[in-house]
Symmetry: C2
Subunit: 538 residues, 2 copies
C-alpha cells in the first residue's frame, strides 16, 4: 500500500510586494487620508502622518563579511533585502523604521534551498564569528529576528522561505512532511487538493512560516485543547552547528523526554528547524457559531470558565471586553461579547453550541442565536470580528504613522488569578501610559485561548505618544506590563515567544534548573554561539 | 476570594503487605494450586511452581556506605527494605528473584519527608560517590530502579513515598499541588472529598506514584487526546544536585521550550521530581460503553482508525486481537473485540457512542449495544476485560513460578505502518521464541491508545522457558522484538519508559542533536553523575 506519496508542486506564492518596514503587503497599508482618520480616534496624535520610510535613506553600507565562492549564490547584500530582514513587526520595530532608527541592518541575507546549504552556511558563520538569525516570515513581535549585540563580526539573516514545499503526504496517517520556510497560504495550497489542512491560523498566517510557528510555539486556530502548534508536530528535522537530526514520526511516545519539545520554542538559538512532519485533519464539514453579550465582564469570565471546564471543546471561544468589542465592531453598547464557534468533520456540532449557550445564560449571557457558517445571514458580530482581526496590524501601522503608541501583549494564568490579573493590568498599564504621556490610554482585553485551568488574556494598548519619543514611551508601558504579569505569576508570553524584548520577564520566570540545562544544551549544539544570539539566553 | 485552600489530610494508605519480589500485594498472589492450573494452559511449563523466594536466602551484607548522623534517621539498612528496592516488576525481575539471582541490592533505602532532605541526601551521595536511584512505587518494567554499574561506592534507593500529601487545592482552576510520592489511591482519596479526580489510571495505579508517572511519562486512563500524564501537568518542582526549582503554574505558555517537558520522561537522571501541580477534573456523570466484535482484525484496525480520526474522543478505545480477547474473557469465538467507552461530566455521551458504532459497522463490526456504566446489565465483555486487566500481573507472576517466560511490550507507530508492524511482530517474535525454546509462543496484541495519526499496540508474549535459562530466553525474545520495532520505526516504548532494558533501542531512536543536548543537561544538573546512572544515558 503506497500510503506515502510525494506531494505535487503547487503555485501559491504571491507576487504582491511586501512592505520592508510595516505589516504585510505594501498596497494594503492605510493611505495618508486613512491614517489621519485613524489618528482622529486617539486624542493628541499628529496632524499629519509620518512619511513612509525609504530604504535609500538608511544609507546601508557594505557587508562586513564575504561568504566563499561556494556559498555566494545563496547570499545577497542587496540593501532592500537587508532592510527587510533587519527587524520583526512589533510596534517597536515599525516606529523605529518610521523614525529612521531601525535595528542593526544585517550584512547579508542568505536563502538556502536545502539542509546541506543551511549546514554549510552555519559552518561558514561559525568559522568567521558571523551571527546567524534564522528568519521565516519576519513577523516576530518580540525582537526575535534582530541582532542587538556587538560580539560578532557580521550578521547573516538566514531566510528559509526558499524551502517551502510539502515534500511527502501520508493520507492514511494524515500527516505531511513540510519544509520550514513555507508560509501559511503556501503550505495550505499544497494540502488542499488532498482534502487536508494543518488548520493553524495565527493572525500572521499570510506572512509567517511553519518554521517560525514551530520555533516560537505559535498559537493558532483552536481556542481550546490543541491551542499551540506544538500539538500538531509529529517529528522535526533540525540542523545545528553540531550536526543535524530528525526525530521519528510517532503519534505518541514515552521514550525519554520529548526530543521535539526541546526545539519547539527554541527560537533559532539551538538549531535551525528545516522541516517537520505535521499532523493534518480533514476540513470541517459542520460549522456553527454565535455571539453572546454580557453586561458584566466578570460574569462573562465565569461563563467562559464553565465552557472551558466542560468537554465541549469549542474551536473559537473569544471573549471581547467592551472596548475590544467596540473596536472590532462586535458591539456598540458597552457589552462584553463572547464569540463561540464549533466545527467538526465528523458530526453536527449544534448540540455542543446549544449546551455552551445554556452555560452562558446561567451567567447573564444574552443573544447567541446559532448561525451556520457561510450562511447568507452570517452573524454580524462574528464576521465583524474576523475582518477586524486580519486588518488590525495594518491599522496599527497607520496609527503609528500618526505618532500613536499602540501595541499588544498576551499572557496566560490560572483561573484563580485571571479576574485580579486583568483588573491589575488595566489599572497599572493605564497608569504607566498616563505617566509616560500625560494622556489616558485605551487598554482593552480579550481572551484568545481558554483552558480548564486558566485562560490567555490578550491586551491592546493605544495612546498618543510623545513625538520622537514613542519608543521610550512604549518601553515604559511595556516594562509596567511585564512587571504586573510577573507579580501575578502570569507568563511573559502565551504565544508570541520571548525573543529579546521579553528576556527580563522570561529570565525571572524560568526555573533555574531548566536555565542550567538550556545553557548547557546551547553550548553543546552551538559551541561557537552564532545562532540567534540574545534570544532566550545570553 | 480564597480560591486556593489547603487540602485536608486523608488516610488512604493500605496496611496490606506488599510483595518484595512480585507484583502488588503478597496475599493476592496465586496459590501453588492456582499456579499449577495456570501452567497447564502453557505446554512445557514445570510440574510444580518455583518456591516463593525469601529475603533471608539473599544473604544481604552490610552497606558499603554510612550516612552522617544528620541523615541517619532517614535511612534504613534493613534487608527486607533493601530487597524490596532492588528491582522493578518486569518479568525479568520476577524470574531473577525466583531463580535467586536478583539485581544488585541497594546498600541503603532513604525515605525523605521534604525537599530539603532530598537535597541533603543528594549532597551526601555526591560527596561520597553513592549512586541514587529515585524510587516511587517500584513498578518499573524496564529496569528503571535497579543499579547495574560498578562506578559507584554504594547505592542508595531514594524512596519518595513518605511524601504523599495533597498540599494545596485550587478548586477554581481545578488543580492540586501533590507530593510526588503519593500512590494512585492515596492521592485520589485526598481529592475525592472535593469532587475532583486526576483520573490517571495505569494498570499499576494501586502501586505506582505520581512522581513515577511523571518521570516515566506514564500512559493513563484516556485512550485518546490526553493519553499521557504529561498533558495534566501544570507545574513541576524538581530537586537536582545543582539546585532546586519550580516552574510557574500556567495553563499554557509559549515562553521558550517547555521547562516541564525536559523533566517529564527524565527517569530520575536529571533530578528528583518532588511535587507537581496537576490538572484535575470533575468525576464523569455520564458514562456509556459497548463492545464490538469483528471477524477480521485488519478491518477492525480500519474501524479504529476511523474513530481515532473523528473528533469523538472516546475515553476507552481498546482493540483486542482474538488471542487477547480470549485471554481476557471478552470473546471465545475467535473474534477481534473493540471495547469503546465514553464519559463526560458535562453532557450525555450516547450520541458520540452511536456515531462511533456506526463507524465500526462500516467495517464489519457486530454487536455493540450501549450499556450505561454500573448498570445491572453491564456489558460482560467490558467487565471481563477490566477484571482481567488488573489481575494480569499477578497471573504473570504465577506463570513465572511455573517456569513460563511471559511479559509484555508496547510501542506506537503511524497508521501507515500499523498493520505491517503488528504482522511482523507476531511473526518475528514468534520465530524468536520458537528458536529460543523450541515451542510456539502465544503472541497477542491489543491497541491501548489511539491517535489521529497512529496507534499504540501492546503485545503479550507467553511461552514455556528453558528451566533455569528463562532470563536468557526472554532477553533473546526481547532483542528480536526491539529489532522489529526499530526496523518499522516504531517507538521503543509508548508509556513504559526506557530504563536500562530499552537503552539499545532508545539510543538508536533518539536524534543525535537531542542526545548532545541531553548529555549536556545531565552534566549541568548532575555534575557528579550520581542520579540513576545508566538510564537514558551512560
Amino acid at each position: 500500500m503506497p500510503a506515502t506519496t510525494r506531494a505535487t508542486a503547487a503555485d501559491s506564492g504571491s507576487s504582491r510586494l511586501r512592505s520592508w518596514w510595516g505589516w504585510g503587503y505594501a498596497d494594503a497599508h492605510p493611505s495618508d487620508a486613512e491614517c489621519v482618520e485613524l489618528g482622529s480616534l486617539l486624542p493628541g496624535t499628529l496632524a499629519r502622518p509620518l512619511p513612509v520610510p525609504r530604504v535609500v535613506d538608511l544609507r546601508i553600507g557594505r557587508p562586513a563579511a564575504t561568504p566563499p565562492a561556494s556559498l555566494a549564490h545563496l547570499v545577497s547584500a542587496d540593501p532592500e533585502a537587508r532592510a527587510a530582514h533587519a527587524m520583526g513587526k512589533a510596534y517597536r520595530d515599525i516606529i523605529r523604521a518610521l523614525r529612521g532608527r531601525p535595528g542593526r541592518i544585517p550584512d547579508l541575507v542568505a536563502r538556502p534551498t536545502d539542509d546541506r546549504e543551511v549546514a554549510d552556511l552555519l559552518d561558514w558563520a561559525g568559522d568567521h564569528a558571523v551571527a546567524v538569525i534564522p528568519f521565516g516570515g519576519g513577523t516576530s513581535v518580540v525582537g526575535g529576528v534582530e541582532y542587538r549585540g556587538d560580539a560578532h563580526r557580521a550578521v547573516l539573516s538566514l531566510d528559509l522561505t526558499a524551502m517551502d514545499r510539502v515534500l511527502e503526504l501520508d493520507t492514511v496517517s494524515r500527516a505531511a512532511r513540510i519544509q520550514a520556510g513555507a508560509l501559511g497560504p503556501v503550505l495550505e495550497a499544497q494540502l488542499r487538493p488532498h482534502g487536508l489542512t494543518l488548520r493553524h491560523f495565527p493572525q500572521s498566517f499570510e506572512f509567517s512560516t511553519l518554521g517560525g510557528w514551530l520555533a516560537t510555539r505559535a498559537g493558532g486556530h483552536y481556542a481550546t485543547v490543541h491551542t499551540h502548534i506544538d500539538d500538531f508536530v509529529q517529528s522535526l528535522r533540525v540542523v545545528t552547528p553540531a550536526g543535524a537530526g530528525t526525530s521519528w514520526r510517532l503519534p505518541g511516545s514515552g521514550a525519554g523526554p520529548s526530543p521535539d519539545r526541546l526545539f519547539l520554542g527554541s527560537e533559532g538559538a539551538l538549531g535551525v528547524i528545516t522541516e517537520a512532519w505535521m499532523r493534518l485533519r480533514e476540513r470541517p464539514r459542520h460549522k456553527v457559531s454565535a455571539s453572546v453579550a454580557f453586561t458584566d465582564f466578570h460574569r462573562a469570565l465565569d461563563a467562559v470558565r464553565d465552557i472551558a471546564q466542560s468537554d465541549l471543546a469549542p474551536a473559537n471561544c473569544r471573549l471581547l471586553d467592551p472596548g475590544e468589542a467596540l473596536l472590532s465592531g462586535a458591539s456598540h453598547d458597552g457589552s462584553t461579547v463572547l464569540v463561540l464557534g464549533f466545527e467538526s468533520a465528523t458530526a453536527p456540532v449544534d448540540a455542543r453550541l446549544a449546551t455552551a449557550l445554556d452555560l452562558t445564560r446561567a451567567h447573564g449571557g444574552r443573544g447567541g442565536s446559532p448561525t451556520a457558517d457561510g450562511g447568507a445571514s452570517g452573524d454580524a458580530a462574528v464576521s465583524a470580528w474576523r475582518s477586524a482581526f486580519l486588518r488590525m496590524p495594518y491599522l496599527r501601522d497607520g496609527l503609528a504613522r500618526m505618532g500613536a503608541v499602540v501595541d499588544t501583549f498576551e499572557t496566560a494564568a490560572t483561573w484563580d488569578r485571571i479576574p485580579g490579573l486583568i483588573d491589575a493590568v488595566r489599572a497599572e498599564v493605564g497608569a504607566a501610559a498616563l505617566k509616560a504621556t500625560g494622556r489616558r490610554a485605551i487598554v482593552n482585553c480579550r481572551l484568545t485561548h481558554v483552558y480548564p485551568d486558566g485562560a490567555a488574556p490578550y491586551f491592546t494598548v493605544a495612546v498618543a505618544g510623545r513625538p520622537g519619543r514613542e519608543v521610550e514611551v512604549w518601553d515604559e508601558i511595556k516594562a509596567a506590563a511585564s512587571d504586573v504579569l510577573h507579580r501575578h505569576h502570569a507568563t511573559i508570553t502565551h504565544h508570541h515567544a520571548v525573543g529579546r524584548d521579553h528576556r527580563p520577564g522570561y529570565d525571572l520566570q524560568r526555573p533555574e534548573p531548566f536555565a542550567l540545562a538550556l545553557r548547557a544544551a546551547k553550548t553543546a549544539l552551538d559551541p561557537r554561539h552564532v545562532l540567534n544570539p540574545g534570544v532566550l539566553l545570553d
